[in-house]
């Protein structure tokens, strides 16, 4: 027994030696991390007295993040990431007098230390909180309280320690929606809305004594009516149907005062867009900026007689009112931005009282069209000692980017928050240099005779010589350049140089499509954004409850002179039809005839995929299936080529609404392509829903067609390329099960051949629940789930084999394939919660595979596939040792060497993308979610490159010494022999 344990321990140890970990000096050498916060919802400038204003900004975002960003370099000072989903949603961010308070998940009130981000206190609201919770803060001078309004009561909390001082219960909580809490000098107002009937305003003092409760009729008020608090004590609502603004003064809640903007003389085409916000842009001022359209603003001032239009700002996209405190007076300054041309933004300053322009503040700002329109403007304004006005302004744009503008109009920094919404990633090889391309051209063509090859060789060598001289001349001329232009040229050159393939093809272009409708091109070496496009009309598909954008690389870089081509496919925001955008993934240039916002297709896309075969132009076509079962292609011209492969083309769809999986063939009629349904599988919608469909990656190479067993026979892999894994989840409806242990969750895993609709394998896991993450590669499937019964995370592994004989060694057809492969399976315990998984991929598929697991703890963990091998024997024998399988133990080891992002925690990892590098041993990894992390992994160690610490010099010098020594001794020996002969 002891001996066996020893053997087991030794084997595991031997395996672990294959895990490559990082040395300390390698940190950051080939990995990088970028941290994001998401789309900003609330933003405050730091106002700590003494330290000066605006060193930091505090933001809360759609991604359940609270963060402080340093304004001098855009770095994150601190960041808090809350749970995903509604539980961690930052409902409200309040900042006053250096007190930072958030309302999280509707029931947690937390005060944070604004400098360090430490939690000072937390208050947990009792009771049911489906309805929103809001809060408001008072100044320190007025007692320092937090008033929290939940759906059931109004709470007064102490600002210093978060203790509950008092509670006022609310009336009619069944019908009333208490949504707004306001405060004046001494009074707290609570506004509750009864939709379609009335509004109640309750006033209490700061000690929790109810002063009054009044009802105001408001029959027009609906659930979708937009309301907001303006000027501290006013509630401003907008009724979309009648296009009327209503104003209610909480201090004197008699009635809503209606105001129509038409009466005020504002003309516009469409009614007010729904996403107007005023709370942020009207801090402490009398007026409010209201957005009427994407590029139309109005400044309104609440008065006793309703709203007064202070200024109409057509063509302006974002505005901001700042109160400027001069010596003894204060005045309100309006800053607004206007797009003057596609690449520039004009910032204008107005004196609000007089409406006059302040020419000092006018500024042109460089604003590329890849940001869309500015959405919001926040900033600070100050008067310098010499009387000049200075400002710092932050612009939030349609593409979720944040940028800081200085007085000089320069963009100090930018944060591309769209990258926190990454949906799809592809990595594209960079092009080889021109000379190298010529070389490849030289050896690539077979038809050439010797003479033409010779001339080609001469030509390439002449061009090489030419470039060398050109480079030399440039080097010599470089010194004469003006320093400024030189710098610019240098930058340009650097970019150009960067975009060439390196020796091992480790440097690639990362193409990222985001849910914000933005497409990025990023260098994999540095993580710098090299190009970007904003597609205002693009929105992701909604498939199986998840956002999905399709990103395909139609043509790589290896088909010179044809440029590479990529395509992003999504849904048009307005029409719901398909929306397509084709571009060059290396340069970011648009494909010919492509409008800058992409094209809207004429049909609703039901399914789209990339063809496996290339046409004469080396282009892989994209095939679309529309909701009328008609088949379209992009580009259209590919249809001619498609004719030849039509007979081998199949399409399948999975519908989670009907629970049906359908397979189609494609046929041609009257020059149009149609899909014809040939099979369908009913996955019983009543009992379970389809949650995942996982195909294999098409670019995956499988080097070894089988597996060598201990007795040296071969177990051939079942390598059906058309197999998909379908996961369905459901709840068991057995009566006794539900009464005893609550709902019994289960999930099913189906392995389905999508050509003939044959269910190859089916596994059912009872008393388990998702989220399930699946890796599907080669002939194996690894999936993780949560076992309700054992209350732990488990992983299961399946491998499919044809057996000891290969049915057809040359080709695989689903029609004649072995119907029932031999499936082996084994389950393991994984000690940590998993958010997503994937596997490494290498150039030729020779290297062992690692499973890369993103843990909820923020780590990326690589587990050698050998640990998840279903052939791991329970008791090791001679034969299994020969085969090299590790003896089975139910626990999967999590050793810290396998964590490839060492201490760089990644929050909310949504997906991991792996790409092969030019080196067989190496696979490139990009993990995305809230953060983006790129590194490379070597699952079988770096067997094809000498290590960095390889002692070239020692070996060379030893060799040289050996040569020298042998030479010298030869001479010596010869001399000795001669001497002896003379004796």
């Amino acid at each position: 027994m002891a001996a066996r344990d020893f053997v087991r321990g030794f084997l595991i140890f031997a395996r672990l030696c294959f895990v490559l970990s990082l040395y300390e000096d390698q940190i950051g050498k080939f990995d990088w991390r970028q941290q994001y916060v998401g789309k900003v919802e609330n933003l405050y400038w730091e106002q700590s007295p003494g330290l000066g204003m605006g060193k930091k900004i505090f933001v809360s975002t759609e991604k359940n993040v609270l963060a402080a960003i340093n304004t001098h370099n855009a770095s994150i000072a601190w960041r808090k990431v809350f749970e995903e989903g509604a539980r961690g949603k930052v409902d409200q961010l309040l900042y006053n007098d250096d007190a930072l308070v958030t309302v999280i998940g509707g029931r947690r009130i937390i005060r944070w230390d604004s400098t360090s981000g430490n939690l000072i206190w937390e208050f947990f609201l009792p009771g049911n909180t489906d309805k929103p919770t809001t809060a408001t803060l008072t100044d320190k001078t007025r007692g320092g309280q937090v008033f929290v309004l939940s759906s059931e009561g109004l709470y007064g909390l102490s600002m210093s320690d978060g203790s509950q001082k008092w509670r006022v219960p609310l009336s009619d909580i069944a019908t009333m929606n208490y949504q707004y809490v306001l405060q004046s000098e001494e009074t707290v107002y609570v506004i509750g809305i009864h939709f379609g009937s009335h509004v109640s305003v309750m006033a209490t003092d700061f000690e929790g004594t109810v002063i009054s409760t009044k009802m105001v009729t408001a029959a027009w008020i609906r659930e979708n009516t937009k309301c907001d608090i303006v000027k501290h004590t006013n509630l401003l609502c907008y009724d979309q149907e009648t296009d009327v603004f209503y104003l209610l003064k909480a201090t004197r809640p008699d009635k809503f005062i209606p105001t129509s903007l038409q009466d005020q003389g504002v003309t516009r085409d469409s009614p007010v867009t729904t996403d107007w916000r005023s709370s942020v842009t009207s801090l402490g001022t009398d007026s409010v900026v209201v957005r009427l359209d994407a590029d139309h603003l109005a400044v309104l001032q609440p008065t006793d007689h309703g709203l007064l239009l202070k200024k109409d700002l057509p063509k302006f996209s974002a505005g901001l009112i700042i109160r400027l405190d001069d010596k003894d007076t204060h005045r309100d300054v309006l800053l607004a931005v206007q797009k003057v041309n596609p690449e520039e933004l004009m910032l204008k300053g107005f004196e609000l009282d007089t409406g006059k322009e302040i020419p000092d503040l006018n500024q042109n700002i460089n604003f590329p069209c890849s940001h869309g329109l500015p959405v919001e403007l926040t900033g600070i304004l100050a008067r310098k000692k010499d009387g000049q006005l200075v400002y710092k302004v932050i612009i939030l744009s349609q593409d979720y980017s944040i940028q800081l503008i200085h007085k000089s109009g320069n963009v100090a920094w930018k944060r591309e928050e769209a990258l926190a919404y990454t949906l799809t990633v592809e990595m594209v090889d960079l092009p080889v240099s021109e000379n190298q391309a010529k070389f490849e051209d030289e050896f690539g063509s077979q038809e050439d005779n010797i003479l033409t090859m010779f001339t080609k060789r001469l030509k390439t060598q002449i061009s090489q010589l030419k470039t060398f001289f050109e480079w030399k001349i440039q080097q010599l001329q470089g010194h004469r350049h003006h320093p400024l232009t030189l710098k610019k040229i240098d930058e340009d050159e650097e970019e150009e140089e960067e975009l060439l393939r390196d020796e091992f093809n480790l440097h690639k272009m990362i193409v990222i499509a985001t849910a914000a409708g933005k497409v990025f091109g990023m260098s994999s070496r540095t993580g710098h954004i090299l190009w970007q496009h904003y597609l205002p009309d693009l929105s992701p598909f909604r498939s199986l409850g998840k956002d999905k954008l399709l990103l395909y690389i139609q043509r790589g870089t290896s088909h010179f002179p044809h440029p590479p081509q990529g395509v992003v496919i999504g849904r048009n925001k307005i029409s719901g039809h398909g929306h397509l955008f084709a571009f060059n993934p290396i340069t970011g240039q648009l494909v010919k005839d492509m409008p800058s916002g992409g094209v809207t297709l004429k049909y609703i896309v039901k399914q789209a995929f990339l063809l496996g075969e290339i046409d004469e132009q080396f282009l892989k076509g994209v095939v679309f299936l529309d909701d009328q079962d008609q088949v379209h292609t992009y580009p259209e011209s590919i249809q001619e080529h498609l004719k030849n492969v039509l007979s081998s083309l199949y399409i399948y769809t999975c519908d989670d609404e009907t629970g049906l999986m359908k397979g189609y063939t494609v046929f041609r009629r009257e020059n149009k392509l149609y899909a014809d349904q040939v099979w369908s599988i009913n996955l019983q919608k009543k009992q379970q829903t389809i949650t995942q469909v996982i195909p294999k990656r098409t670019n995956e190479h499988v080097h070894s067609q089988g597996r060598v067993l201990g007795d040296r026979t071969v177990l051939y892999k079942y390598l059906n390329p058309n197999v998909v894994v379908v996961i369905t989840e459901g709840e068991e409806t057995g009566s006794q099960a539900q009464t005893q242990k609550g709902p019994m969750n289960f999930f099913n895993l189906y392995v389905i051949d999508t050509v003939i609709g044959h269910v190859i394998f089916h596994a059912n896991h009872r008393r388990t629940k998702g989220p399930i993450s699946v890796v599907h590669s080669e002939n194996w499937i690894v999936y993780s789930y949560y076992s309700d019964k054992q209350r732990r995370y488990e992983m299961a592994s399946l491998e499919m084999y044809e057996g000891n004989e290969q049915s057809n060694a040359t080709a695989f057809s689903s029609f004649v394939a072995p119907k029932q492969p031999f499936v082996m399976s084994l389950a393991f315990i994984f000690p940590l919660p998993i958010s997503t998984m994937t596997t490494t991929i290498t150039e030729k598929g020779i290297t062992n595979k690692d499973v890369i697991i993103a843990l909820k703890t923020g780590a990326l963990f690589t587990l050698p596939k050998a640990f998840l091998d279903p052939r791991r024997p329970p008791t090791p024998t001679q034969e299994t040792m020969e085969e090299g399988t590790i003896p089975y133990s139910p626990d999967l080891p999590v050793n810290t060497e396998g964590i490839i992002n060492y201490n760089q925690t990644l929050s909310n990892i949504q997906g991991i993308y792996t790409a092969p590098a030019g080196l067989e041993s190496t696979s490139l990894v990009l993990a995305y979610g809230l953060d983006i992390f790129h590194t490379r992994v070597e699952p079988s160690k770096m067997f094809d490159v000498l290590k960095e610490d390889f002692e070239h010099w020692i070996i060379a010098s030893v060799l040289a010494i050996m040569f020298l020594l042998s030479f010298v001794t030869q001479k010596l020996a010869a001399r000795k022999a001669l001497n002896r002969a003379w004796k």
Partner: protein, 177 residues
């Protein structure tokens, strides 16, 4: 040389050959003075042709058989070494196997010379036995390789050359978008 001659003409020297004697003295003359030693016969022994040849050919045959059976005699030794060496692949077993291959192959290379040495009436048989012995040695070596798993005899040895299967159907799709 002359010096050496002088040295040899020592007073104690008894010259039996008569090199330094005169021509007449050179012939060894049987002297009456000396009695022939026992067992010495003056008369020339006439040896029959057939009588002398019989044992000669026997010796040759014996010698030839020695050569012919040499490889066969090594077999038990080889087997023992093989058994001792075991089946693991490490430096010593490999050296042993190498030696076992080396010897018969060397023998095959030098087979012409060896065959020249084998004479006599049984030569064809002996040559055959010699060849057989070496072949058996070689076979044992090959068998040893096989046992050690060094021969590409199983399908697993050719697995690396199996090409990936060509894909005949293309299927694409997924969840309804």
């Amino acid at each position: 040389m002359s010096k050496a001659k002088d040295i040899r003409r020592h007073k104690w020297t008894i010259d039996f050959t008569g090199v330094y004697r005169s021509k007449s003295e050179k012939q060894l003359v049987p002297s009456e003075r000396y009695v022939a030693p026992y067992g010495y016969s003056d008369s020339q022994v006439s040896q029959g042709e057939h009588a002398s040849k019989e044992p000669d050919s026997a010796i040759i045959a014996k010698k030839s058989w020695d050569i012919a059976l040499g490889p066969l005699k090594q077999i038990p030794m080889n087997l023992f070494i093989m058994w001792m060496a075991g089946n693991s692949i490490s430096i010593f077993p490999i050296m042993m196997v190498g030696m076992m291959f080396f010897r018969p192959i060397q023998a095959f290379i030098a087979i012409q010379n060896t065959f020249k040495m084998i004479e006599g009436g049984q030569a064809p048989l002996q040559k055959f036995v010699y060849l057989l012995g070496n072949l058996i040695c070689l076979a044992i070596a090959v068998y040893k390789c096989h046992v050690m798993g060094l021969l590409p005899t199983t399908s697993s040895d050719w697995l690396a050359f199996v090409m990936p299967q060509k894909r005949l159907e293309w299927s694409g799709g997924g969840a309804v978008l």
